[in-house]
Amino acid sequence: MKKTCPAIALIALCVLPSCKRAGERMEITETREMSATARKPVLDASSATRFFDESKESSDEPRQHPLLWTTPEGWQEGPPSQMRLIDLKFGPKQEGECYLSAMPGQAGGLAANINRWRGQMGQPALTEDEINKLPRKTLLGTDAHFVTIDGDFKGVGAEAAQSGYRMLGIIQQAPELTIFIKMTGPKDIVEKNAAAFDTFCGSVKFRPKGPAAP
């Protein structure tokens, strides 16, 4: 008989989980502490936005870009994507590109991102001291790190590096958001468009809340 006790206990252990039934009223018992890197929700989004009903959005409440900017003369503007909030191209054959992207939080940190860019240009990583000595530019009214990197540019998915390229980049870190502006292209074309790059960076600002801006 003693030997049957563990048997009954084991059967009970196996069967009990399947007996769990939910009543009509339940108290929530679990609380989850969210990570510091957890995605921040977009609040007060309309049903049309939440359900990606673009036709409704366009008819009821015109979708507004969160930023305002001036596209330099001669540059072409592409449609924004999830990764590129502003996507511009320049140069005689549109071979240069300049885009603005944003990521939540510190996005891996300043040094990692600058050295990632340097890696894309085939250049060695910078030390923390060297990064601290980088020049600054103003973006959205705040100081941001600015880099100029010459080298052989190998973009994502590219079979081979493109030689004689220049990259201009700005990284601005805020506690909740990191904003990147990255310009790449053949060195001579980037040089010719450096002033336009500064004009573009200086023109970027957050769209004020309230009625649609013209």
Partner: protein, 420 residues
């Protein structure tokens, strides 16, 4: 034989549970369940088939049509109602059979030590499966180059989360109340108008009513439709279930009932929380506080952070087929940073968690788009138990076979000595 008739009922039950006959029947049932589950998963998907045949206590039907079609035999739809023990029940009874018959009742002497070890290893394998089934956490973590993450999300488990976003918590730590899917996935619509369940928490100034859960659906405009569930001009239109469960997008209707009797109605849709950049929850304001209510995948925290520094993929020459994916990551634990590489068949193992290189994605819209690496993350307390079990089974069987060989050789030599 006369002895068996004089046995008490518990003794007979004990003898039955210990018996070889029961072990044989259970093994045949496992064989049948495995065969049917394997055939059905071709049309019903791995997750659904696993849930029906292996995670269940009882199997209520067999999709004979699907099983035949899986064997390339043309067949019409035909669902055969049955009552068969499910894999969970069979394995539980088999575990009991092994414990009682293979470990407790077996004669224990030097001759049977190998068999006892082999039985123990089989029981240990079943226990490993039960622990994995009950406690394993499995999901994925997707990171863009430069991004840091310390949470992974379940492949299958769904949750409704309620987060007070304004005013934010005094300690600055974001928290969410979690309602697991086993508390709402049975609230499917029916002819009586659907089922509802009310959820409460002392910290909430409202009650949340969830009703009419749709495991795969899409919000549709209610214009011209007489759908009485429509909220803010939308209703959830059911879609056929996708065999690959991860591809289903679920939805549920929600009502916030304030203490003063006021009600706010909303729709929670899984896709709205799936955005990698920012989820789009249903926002409600009650008593001057703002809450985000969302339906999404269950999330778990990692005990460390992972930053994706660089992602590389090697292609087979002249094709777009990937030969190797490699993620160069930094594992961050407090202030300590450690560079690691995760590549195919070389996962990162740390603090009981395993991160495998699973897949990747690229934004192809531009030449220098952003790369995203996806890691499969698993935490399984019984991660290595099957390996130990196999080693134990090998040792047990080796001991048994060597001992049998020794006895055979001894018998042979004594027989030849007698003949001489």
């Amino acid at each position: 034989m006369s002895d068996s008739t004089s046995k008490s009922i518990p003794a007979r039950i004990y003898a039955f549970l210990c018996s070889y006959g029961l072990a044989t029947v259970l093994l045949i049932l496992l064989l049948i369940i495995t065969l049917l589950g394997t055939l059905e998963q071709v049309e019903h998907g791995l997750f659904n088939s696993q849930a029906k045949y292996f995670d269940s206590m009882i199997i209520w039907s067999i999709d004979v049509g699907a099983c035949l079609r899986a064997m390339s035999i043309p067949a019409k739809e035909f669902e055969l109602p049955v009552i068969l023990p499910g894999g969970y029940l069979v394995m539980a009874i088999f575990g009991l059979n092994l414990l009682l018959g293979g470990l407790l009742r077996i004669r224990k002497n030097p001759r049977t030590i190998g068999v006892v070890i082999a039985h123990f290893s089989m029981l240990f394998m079943l226990i490993a499966g039960a622990v994995s089934f009950s406690f394993k956490k499995e999901g994925n973590l997707a990171l863009i180059e430069g991004q840091t993450g310390d949470e992974f999300q379940s492949f299958h488990n769904r949750v409704v989360e309620i987060e007070q976003v304004d005013p934010p918590p005094a300690d600055g730590k974001r928290k969410a109340l979690v309602i697991h899917d086993d508390a709402f996935e049975d609230l499917v619509p029916d002819s009586s108008g659907g089922k509802a369940r009310t959820f409460t928490h002392p910290s909430l100034p409202f009650e949340l009513v969830l009703k009419n859960y749709q495991p795969n659906c899409e919000p549709k405009r209610a214009e011209g439709s007489e759908n009485q569930e429509a909220v803010d001009g939308y209703y959830l239109q059911a879609k056929p279930l996708n065999p690959t469960s991860e591809q289903n997008i679920d939805g549920i209707y929600a009502v916030v009932k304030e203490k003063n009797g006021a009600e706010q109605k909303g729709i929670l849709w899984g896709f709205a929380s799936a955005m990698n950049t920012a989820p789009l929850p249903w926002t409600v304001k009650v008593d001057g506080k703002t809450y985000a209510i969302d339906l999404g995948r269950q999330r778990w925290s990692l005990p460390f952070s992972v930053r994706l520094d660089k992602f590389d993929r090697e292609l087979h020459p002249g094709t777009e087929r990937a030969r190797k994916f490699t993620s160069h990551i930094t594992k961050i634990n407090g202030t300590h940073e450690e560079k690691k590489i995760i590549t195919m068949n070389e996962p990162l193992r740390d603090s009981g968690y395993v991160l495998f290189q699973a897949s990747f994605s690229m934004d192809q819209s531009g030449g220098s788009a952003v790369k995203q690496s996806v890691f499969a993350v698993a935490q399984n307390p019984s991660d290595h138990w099957p390996l130990w079990s196999c080693v134990a089974a090998a040792i047990g069987l080796l001991i048994h076979f060597i001992s049998m060989l020794g006895r055979f050789m001894k018998r042979s030599s004594s027989a030849s000595a007698t003949a001489a």
